[in-house]
């Protein structure tokens, strides 16, 4: 049986579920049990709040604290939801390095009756939970201390939760692609996740409208599903404010969701192909359990 090429029979669905469930539990233990709950909570709050505070200080210095301007919720919410991007993609892909080089268990995982890509997705669940805490805390901080106006009665909850659902799947697929590449990397694994996250941060219009980018760079932003995902999340929470920016104002919510779904499907197909190719190549090269001291 080749674990990565399972067909969806009832028996195999059980294997997929078991792989996912156990990996989720394991991921949570790895993410959280390195310290006591208090320090873990501090760690989960301080990092994202500091990242947001850098932007808030930059913004308030220049605008003299004009938090009512529409650009403020644009920047703040984009930055808050971008936490999911870094956490999910890194959470899934870094599990390869963690298992292979840190715990040196990848070869045992490969010999166990589990489906490895599903296992990696399960490892991402813990990152999703940690990221969710960070996102909620960051947004609440904005609402209570920075006059970030989110009217709960006006929020388009259906759009919000459907965007979260599609977006998380999209990020998981992107993480799986990175995870596949990680299987082949021996000394550059450290930089890959950071590079992808930084590039997406720059080109997806997370913290500034795409129109600010030089014209020759803007097409990169339009190719990224994260651009549409962040726009949908902003529109669902602060509808009219988000639509004030010209970048995607020509598209309605249904069109944005359609583009996001299409790009997610593309990434899903791509992740399957890329992961299988990388996995086969890693086996051929004999680097599946290589230890390079990070």
């Amino acid at each position: 049986m080749k674990p990565s090429t399972l067909n969806l029979t009832l028996f195999n669905i059980r294997i997929l579920w078991r792989s996912f469930k156990i990996a989720s539990w394991l991921g949570w233990q790895v993410e959280s049990n390195w310290t006591d709950p208090f320090l873990f909570a501090v760690y989960s709050f301080v990092k994202p709040l500091s990242g947001a505070a850098i932007l808030v200080v930059m913004y308030s210095v220049i605008t003299k604290g004009d938090y009512d301007s529409p650009i403020f919720p644009y920047i703040y919410l984009g930055n808050a939801f971008y936490i999911y991007v870094g956490q999910l993609m890194n959470g899934i892909s870094w599990a390869v390095i963690d298992d292979r080089e840190h715990y040196k268990t990848l070869k045992y995982i490969y010999t166990a009756p589990i489906h490895y890509p599903t296992y990696l997705l399960g490892r991402g669940v813990a990152s999703f939970l940690v990221a969710s805490i960070s996102v909620i805390v960051t947004i609440l901080f904005g609402v209570f201390f920075l006059r970030l106006r989110i009217d709960l009665a006006q929020v388009d909850w259906l759009l919000f939760f459907s965007s979260i659902l599609v977006g998380v799947n999209m990020l998981a697929m992107m993480g799986l692609i990175l995870g596949g590449v990680m299987l082949l990397l021996v000394r550059h694994s450290w930089e890959l996740g950071g590079m992808v996250a930084s590039a997406l941060y720059l080109f997806s219009g997370a913290i500034f409208p795409l129109d600010v980018l030089p014209p020759f760079l803007r097409p990169l932003g339009y190719l990224m599903p994260i651009t549409y995902w962040l726009e949908l999340l902003r529109r669902s929470l602060v509808g009219e404010v988000a639509q004030a920016f010209p970048t995607l104002s020509g598209l309605n919510n249904a069109q944005l969701m359609g583009i996001l779904l299409a790009l997610t499907a593309v990434f899903a197909i791509l992740s399957r192909s890329v992961f299988r190719w990388c996995e086969r190549r890693a086996k051929e090269l004999g680097v599946i359990d290589v230890v390079t001291n990070y």
Binding site: G51, I62, F208, V212
Partner: protein
């Protein structure tokens, strides 16, 4: 053939050179690391520059971001290449060899610092050069000797801090990774990497001045940008005086803390543990 045995100052210097060597040579051999370590900070710098442009900031702020982005490289080197280095050495089994060898741990840390400083300085120069070219940053250096002095003192104090914290990491295990990660964004914020530190509350800025890059960066900004002095937190001479004090304090602290932590780690048997 009988080998010449070094001791005292000669052994100290040889140890420093030996530990600095892989930092300098090893990194130049892996060309892709140079690419990543220059390209990655440039992406962050670009993102913050575009934020400033989106909110209509004066052009001086673009220069602040470029300079701050280059100095991030030094902080990252302190966190991952100095502070947590002894944790990595422990994970890889080298730490016990360091302790067993007849050389000074201070010499090993100093070698790591000098090697890391040299390799990081090369990258920082390229980041400043590329960032300045990409975003058309204009400089007007008020005093070149003061600029060199500020940079030198900031680096001495900063790497002294790195040597000091590395001894704390000697005792850590899996949490070392997370604690190093925790010291990224909060320090970027407190030290004003992307905005003048004067923008923060006075006492917050004073507290943040314990991190040498805070005052070093503030003084450098005052010295290299046309309107830099209007954004300064304290005057340059005061900041130079504070950096001198921080340099002495951190180097002395590194020596005392390393001796104490080494004894403690040996007594508690934590030099070879790997609590994965």
């Amino acid at each position: 053939m009988r080998m010449k045995k070094s001791s005292g100052v000669a052994l100290f210097i040889q140890t420093v050179i030996a530990r600095a060597y892989p930092r300098v040579i090893g990194q130049q051999r892996e060309k892709s690391w140079m690419f990543f370590e220059i390209f990655l900070p440039l992406l962050s710098v670009s993102a913050y520059v575009f934020v400033y442009r989106a909110i209509g900031a004066p052009e001086e702020y673009v220069g602040f971001v470029v300079l701050g982005g280059a100095m991030v490289a030094f902080w990252m080197n302190i966190l991952w290449g100095m502070s947590s280095q002894l944790y990595w050495e422990k994970e890889q089994g080298n730490l016990a060899l360091y302790i067993m060898a007849p050389n000074s741990m201070m010499a090993i840390l100093l070698g790591m610092a000098l090697g890391g400083l040299f390799a990081t300085a090369l990258r920082a120069v390229v980041i400043v050069g590329l960032g300045s070219w990409m975003f058309q940053v204009r400089y007007a250096i008020a005093s070149f000797p003061q600029l060199v002095l500020v940079f030198f003192l900031a680096m001495v104090a900063l790497y002294g801090l790195g040597m000091m914290t590395s001894s704390i990491f000697l005792l850590l295990s899996r949490e070392a990774w997370h604690l190093a990660a925790l010291a990224q964004e909060p320090i970027y914020l407190a030290s004003g990497f992307y905005f003048p530190i004067k923008s923060l509350n006075f006492w917050v800025a004073m507290g943040a001045s314990l991190i040498p890059l805070t005052l070093g960066l503030d003084a450098m900004r005052q010295l290299v940008f046309p309107a830099g002095d209007t954004f300064g937190f304290l005057s340059v001479p005061v900041e130079i005086g504070a950096l001198v004090m921080l340099s002495f304090a951190f180097l002395l602290g590194a020596k005392l803390l390393l001796d104490y932590m080494e004894r403690l780690a040996i007594r508690e048997g934590r030099l070879t543990e790997t609590r994965r």
